[in-house]
């Protein structure tokens, strides 16, 4: 049984349907990268899984339990954590306060303030700094650490490397590798295809709200994914097309 199952989910904003009949399954411990052009529906899909956005149709289930109608804050308590696009830290709170907010649900597990600071060593000297005064990489590390503090079963990461310097991206991914090695199941949106292929077990490509390709994250898949990314060849887009 898959740990996270998304089944025929529709989601949108008013008349705009951003996600159309998407189905997706993550096995325990699996890392899946979600790629696709801007407006493909990746962020909306992640927010729908996290409960920050209501699904118009379809179901989201976690470890066999249907959570489609469960509010975002209760889903965190059940083990779904989202690192939102743009980090969205609490700007007036310090790094440590931001991290502690991640533990709002008091879910028990391996992550606490000390282990998060150990996984993200760059944060240790910044504990008392206000989040508004952090660099992009530091903010992203804090945002991921904050999500980990809830000891999620499934970690959703939106646009991990967006707006970060190459060095900061490397540092964030280095820490993420530690996290994934711990067995956390992760679904991440990543624009950098090489980065996605190098990090994930599997790549899912979305185009105009639909899944057009699912493939193992191997260098050989690169061309097929690129074609699916731009919607160039319908023939090349097999797999999980809905």
């Amino acid at each position: 049984m898959s740990l996270l199952a998304v089944d025929s989910v529709d989601a949108g904003y008013g008349l705009l349907q951003a996600v159309r009949g998407v189905s997706l399954a993550l096995a325990e411990g699996e890392t899946v990268a979600l790629v696709g052009a801007n407006g493909a529906g990746k962020t909306t899909l992640l927010r729908t899984i996290a409960g920050a956005h209501q699904a118009a149709a379809g179901t989201v289930s976690l470890a066999g339990r249907d959570v489609t109608r469960v509010s975002a804050h209760r889903r965190v308590a059940l083990g779904i954590a989202l690192v939102p696009e743009g980090r969205r830290l609490f700007p007036g709170l310090t790094v440590e306060e931001n991290l502690r907010m991640g533990a709002a649900t008091r879910r028990a597990g391996r992550w606490d303030l000390d282990s998060v600071l150990a996984a993200f060593p760059m944060l240790a000297p910044l504990r008392k700094r206000r989040a508004a005064n952090l660099s992009g990489g530091e903010q992203q590390a804090t945002a991921i650490g904050r999500a980990l503090m809830s000891n999620p079963i499934v970690l959703l990461l939106d646009e991990v490397s967006l707006g970060l310097s190459p060095i900061a991206v490397e540092a964030v991914y280095e820490s993420l590798r530690t996290v994934v090695r711990e067995g956390t199941t992760a679904l991440l949106v990543e624009q950098d295809l090489d980065r996605a292929l190098g990090f994930a077990d599997r790549v899912v490509c979305m185009l105009e709200g639909r899944v057009v390709l699912e493939d193992r994250a191997e260098p050989a898949a690169r061309e097929k994914i690129t074609a699916a990314y731009f919607g160039l060849s319908a023939a090349g887009a097999g797999g999980g097309a809905a």
Binding site: H73, L82, F90, P91, L93, E97, M101, A104, A132
Partner: protein, 292 residues
């Protein structure tokens, strides 16, 4: 010496305004709701104290202990029913909703308690008349000093609550980014409801001191709201210490105006308010995250 007295009395008067204003400030800071029924809720608190006093012969302060949980409950329910729903329609709708609530409260009070002017001063015993004579022309009333002390304690208490407790940090986080708060597992609706509960309870505390120091009737709320609102704006929207400072500035302005000519009391306060708005858009101590 007269002017020293004017300032001292103004500072003491500022205590009442600060007390009435900090709930207003809290609600704005956490939810960006401007509660136009705030003054009326303070008056409701004062009337509920009279209800208790009708049944048991205790001091108004003791009676307030019974009123406090009722006001907390009123605030919590108010948020979960009217305000939460109206907030969904944008930040302007709660203003209309609370405006309507203000009118409804005044009419309910009028029906229930008649338009007669009431005061809690008579039940407060010697406290209302006691004072310390510092010099021939300067004396400090016990109730004035107590009001100011309570106002300072409430602001300090709220500050400690918001900055030193886990629950308070969760409230600040919700104030700064409600979407992110939900995503880390904070029940934002519950946070909002507790913020309103606290604000309404503190408003009732303001109503208690208003009732002891002065008089009130069913339509006294809007006047108190204006003073509270001026204190909040002078001090800086959403800043609790600023609200305390704003209340004191307003109090001193009014006593100074009254010293020049008794008719200038309210006018002087309004003028200071307008000057602050015109010159310092963020107020004296405007804050960045809304709940400093």
């Amino acid at each position: 010496m007269t002017w020293v007295n004017v300032v001292v009395q103004g500072v003491l008067l500022g205590g009442v305004y600060a007390l009435l204003a900090c709930g207003l400030s809290l609600m704005y800071g956490v939810m960006r709701i401007i509660n136009l029924a705030h003054g009326d809720l303070a008056v409701v608190g004062a009337y509920l104290v009279t209800v208790v006093l009708d049944h048991v012969g205790v001091s108004p302060f003791v009676a307030f202990l019974a009123v406090l949980p009722v006001m907390l409950a009123i605030g919590y329910v108010l948020q979960r029913t009217i305000l939460e729903r109206s907030l969904r329609a944008g930040i302007l709708t709660p203003i209309l909703a609370t405006f309507g609530l203000s009118i409804a409260i005044q009419n309910i009070l009028l029906r229930q308690f008649s338009p007669d002017v009431k005061s809690l001063g008579g039940n407060a015993g010697a406290l209302t008349t006691a004072s310390w004579r510092i010099t021939g022309q300067l004396s400090i009333s016990a109730i004035g000093a107590l009001t100011l002390a309570v106002a300072v304690a409430v602001v300090a208490g709220l500050h400690v609550f918001l900055h030193r407790t886990r629950f308070g940090s969760m409230m600040r986080a919700t104030a700064q980014d409600v979407d992110s708060a939900e995503l880390v597992g904070i029940d934002s609706r519950s946070m909002y409801a507790w913020a309103t509960a606290l604000a309404v309870a503190i408003a009732a505390l303001g109503g208690l001191f208003l009732g002891i120091r002065s008089t009130f009737d069913p339509t006294a709320g809007p006047t108190q709201l204006i003073f509270a609102f001026e204190a909040v704006v002078i001090g800086g929207l959403g800043s609790l210490w600023g609200t305390l400072a704003g209340g004191i500035v307003l109090g001193v302005s009014q006593t100074t105006g009254a010293q020049i000519n008794p008719q200038y009391s309210i006018l002087a306060g309004n003028l200071v308010f307008l000057v602050v708005i015109a010159t310092r858009r963020g107020g004296l101590l405007g804050s960045r995250d809304g709940t400093q």
